[in-house]
């Protein structure tokens, strides 16, 4: 509390000046709307165009990127922006107002930039990748929704709009994962992703209701202020509410044990995987944790050890799984889960900036790696690394960009991954999670190890597939280069203690104005820790090269590192998928059998008796009541109506003056009655 207030005071003191963004911030909502406009345009006009409507998707994100970039630069140069536009939609009960709108502050600007930039690059890549594929029109329509829902999510000024975007992202991911629905496995993968996320969404919604109703406001600004001022009502629900929100984040951000959907989600087209793993979908959970950071920082500190533990398990144990995957996209998928573990661990431990910086750098190099993998898959027509090998000769651009991405992911100085991972390690050390810090260093070793394997099996040795692979078209390689540059350089944006002239650093851009985050920022590079992280990564690369390097001739020999206990465990993915099925089977089996017995002997008996009774009753009702009683009554009625009609219709002569005569006679009768009665 004291620390937070002093930081707030220090920031108010003039170190960082707040701006409001002016016209660009007031119109930033256009970014949230454009992808949905593109969606409609793609559906109605897309099929006539060359890329089946992909042009609209690219255009929408291109225009959005203008806004995102302007705001990003303003945020860098003119002081941190803090702005929000909201429109009241409804009032819930007496006090709670439901608003839609958009936020323009450091955190959301960073996400706008990320989604628009990575999204645009991936969309352009997809124009080439999906050309000639089936249902390209549908693909780009869903893809637009995917990006648009994510923008709605990160632009949300309150928890309710965030949930709307959250569900939109889940829906779009379901549609995209199941894009090739002719294959039942892909449909199942989509279902698995949707269901797993739904389980977690229950946590999100309950948590949102709990903390929102506690202070009667779902607004992030109000929640942050209440958290910093130690609001008693919010404090009462902070621990449970915080854990529930974290549970929600676990689903989208694929934390152990809810990570099981993410590797299966590789069933979708590769551009989907790239966007899903970089900027949209999986970052949503981390973003939620960052938005609610004041809650965890000020009120729900008790929840932290649990969250850090989940993150630590995720970053290490799931990273190991990448060592045994044969599908290159699954290697990258497990790697994403592992890196999400890093981010979650950092944010949970109190490293607001550290976690988000890793999210930022990771988005670029992971999108790069996925697009590179897509380029390779495009060339060899297989996802399996056993069908690859030696591709560096055939696909030089893909090879070099993939290596840059791998080194950045492994955390080799001076590429971006090194700086962000180092900051996480520093934060973990500072916050007192020393054991977790060592796990994270070990995780860095594992990361470098499996990426070396992936690079060696894909690009070195001899080509094992069929035919002659070829470099991808420019429409696909240019995006790789566009992503390789930020992957290499963006780490320099947040070197501890270094403020770049004129633009400051990442830490300053993300400081939020409503409340101070109060997280720790290292003042200088901790060379010991950096050396440990870098050493672990180099060791991983060296060891990986020794095992899978170029010397080993056949792919099978190269990929046969059989460790007795570990390998079977990893191949079965720690039996988590089996356990999930087993638990459901074991508990549901006996229940199902007993239900079956009751069904056969008890319920059937009752049903049969009821049936016989009903039958007898039915005979009586039909023969006596219906045929004679009801029918007789109905027939009688119709006879009466018929006769009355036949008599009365003679009155309708069609002679107007006769009617008038009746009318006058009636009036006279009424007048006489009136006079007599009064």
């Amino acid at each position: 509390m004291y620390k937070a207030l002093t930081l707030l005071a220090a920031e108010e003191g003039g170190a960082v000046a707040a701006g409001d963004g002016g016209w660009w911030a007031d119109t930033a909502g256009i970014m949230l709307v454009l992808p949905f406009v593109a969606y409609l345009l793609i559906l109605f006009f897309g099929k006539k165009l060359k890329y089946q409507g992909g042009e609209f998707a690219v255009g929408a994100l291109g225009i959005g990127l203008v806004w995102a970039t302007v705001l990003f630069v303003m945020n860098m140069t003119g002081g941190v922006l803090d702005h929000s536009n909201t429109f009241e939609i409804a009032r819930i009960g007496s006090g709670i107002v439901f608003e839609l709108g958009w936020m323009v502050d450091g955190l959301s600007i960073m996400m706008y930039f990320l989604v628009n930039f990575v999204g645009l690059v991936v969309f352009i890549y997809a124009l080439g990748y999906m050309e000639g594929d089936i249902r390209v029109n549908n693909f780009f329509a869903s893809f637009s929704i995917f990006a648009g829902a994510m923008l709605v999510l990160v632009g949300a000024p309150n928890l309710i709009q965030m949930i709307i975007g959250w569900e939109g992202v889940g829906l779009a991911s379901y549609l995209l994962i199941g894009h090739y629905w002719e294959d039942l496995d892909n449909v199942k993968a989509g279902n698995k992703a949707f269901m797993t996320n739904k389980v977690a969404d229950v946590g999100l919604i309950l948590g949102a209701i709990l903390v929102g109703v506690a202070i009667g406001n779902f607004d992030f600004a109000a929640l942050s202020e209440a958290a910093v001022s130690q609001n008693a009502e919010l404090g009462a629900v902070a621990f449970v509410g915080g854990l529930l929100l974290f549970f929600g984040a676990m689903g989208k951000s694929a934390q152990f044990p809810l990570h099981i959907w993410l590797p299966d989600a590789m069933a979708g087209p590769t551009p989907v995987s790239a966007l899903m793993h970089a900027a949209t979908m999986v970052t949503a959970g981390i973003y939620l944790m960052a938005r609610m950071f004041p809650l965890f920082q000020n009120l729900a500190q008790d929840a932290r050890p649990y969250m850090v533990a989940i993150g630590a398990i995720t970053l290490f144990a799931i990273g190991l799984l990448a060592l045994v995957a044969n599908d290159i996209k699954k290697v990258l998928a497990y790697s994403t889960v592992s890196q999400l573990g890093y981010m979650m661990t950092a944010v949970a431990a109190g490293g607001y900036t550290a976690g988000l910086f890793h999210l930022f750098t990771h988005a670029f190099f992971k999108a790069l790696l996925f697009l590179g993998a897509g380029s390779v898959i495009h060339a060899v027509h297989s996802n399996n690394m056993s069908d690859m090998g030696g591709l560096r000769k055939y696909m030089p651009t893909t090879y070099w960009t993939f290596v840059v991405g791998s080194l950045a992911l492994a955390g080799i100085v001076p590429l971006s991954g090194f700086w962000s991972k180092d900051e996480i390690l520093a934060t973990l050390g500072h916050e007192g999670y020393t054991a977790v810090m060592w796990i994270a260093i070990a995780g860095a070793f594992v990361t470098a190890f499996y990426m070396t394997r992936a690079v060696a099996l894909t690009f070195f040795g001899e080509f094992k597939g069929h035919g002659e692979p070829h470099e991808s078209p420019k429409l696909m390689t240019r995006p790789l280069i566009a992503l390789a540059i930020p992957s290499a350089l963006f780490g320099l944006l947040n070197i501890p203690g270094v403020s770049l002239p004129g633009i400051g650093n990442f830490t300053e851009w993300l400081s939020v104005r409503v409340v101070a985050m109060g997280d720790h920022h290292a003042e200088a590079i901790n060379f010991g820790l950096a050396a440990a992280g870098l050493g672990a990564a180099l060791l991983g690369i060296a060891l990986g090269w020794m095992i899978w390097g170029e010397d080993k001739k056949t792919q099978k020999e190269r990929d046969s590192l059989e460790i007795p206990v570990l390998y079977p465990l990893l191949r079965r993915k720690y039996y988590i998928d089996d356990a999930a099925l087993g638990v459901v089977g074991a508990t549901m089996g006996p229940i199902a059998r007993s239900v079956d017995w009751i069904n056969t002997y008890v319920i059937d008996g009752i049903v049969n008796a009821a049936g016989a009774l009903t039958k007898g009753l039915g005979g009586f009702v039909y023969g006596i009541l219906d045929q004679r009683g009801v029918d007789g009554f109905v027939n009688g009625l119709s006879v009466v109506a018929d006769g009355a009609g036949a008599g009365l219709r003679k009155l309708q002569t069609g002679r107007v003056q006769q009617y008038a005569a009746f009318f006058v006679a009636g009036a006279i009768v009424l007048a006489v009655v009136f006079v007599i009665l009064i």
């Binding site: 219709r649 309708q652 002569t653 069609g654 002679r655 107007v656 003056q657 008038a660 005569a661 006058v664």
Partner: protein, 101 residues
């Protein structure tokens, strides 16, 4: 007070109207009879208003309403008559029996 004379005039006009409505065979004359009845009512309203002199001149305003409605009614009525005459070359109500069952 002249009220009784006005009421007698009104009653006479109304009765003439009713008589015309019932016995005339020409549609135009029937319409005229209806107008006669409406004007009888107007006379009645004005006569009572001149006695009561309510603050907001209800009787006179109501008479204006009646005149307005009567004008509209004659407009529609003559249009119908015109159409009937064009179709059947006759304005005799006894020959008009389309509206029977």
């Amino acid at each position: 007070m002249l009220l009784n004379q006005f009421l007698v005039l009104s009653a006479a006009l109304f009765s003439l109207g009713v008589y015309g409505l019932l016995v005339r065979r020409n549609i135009v004359l029937i319409l005229l009879s209806v107008e006669l009845m409406l004007n009888a009512v107007n006379i009645n309203l004005i006569a009572f208003e001149s006695v009561i002199r309510s603050a907001d001149a209800t009787g006179q305003i109501f008479a204006i309403f009646v005149i307005t409605v009567a004008a509209a009614e004659v407009g529609i009525g003559l249009a119908i008559v015109l159409m009937i005459f064009r179709n059947r070359r006759s304005a005799n109500v006894d020959e008009l029996n389309l509206m029977r069952w």
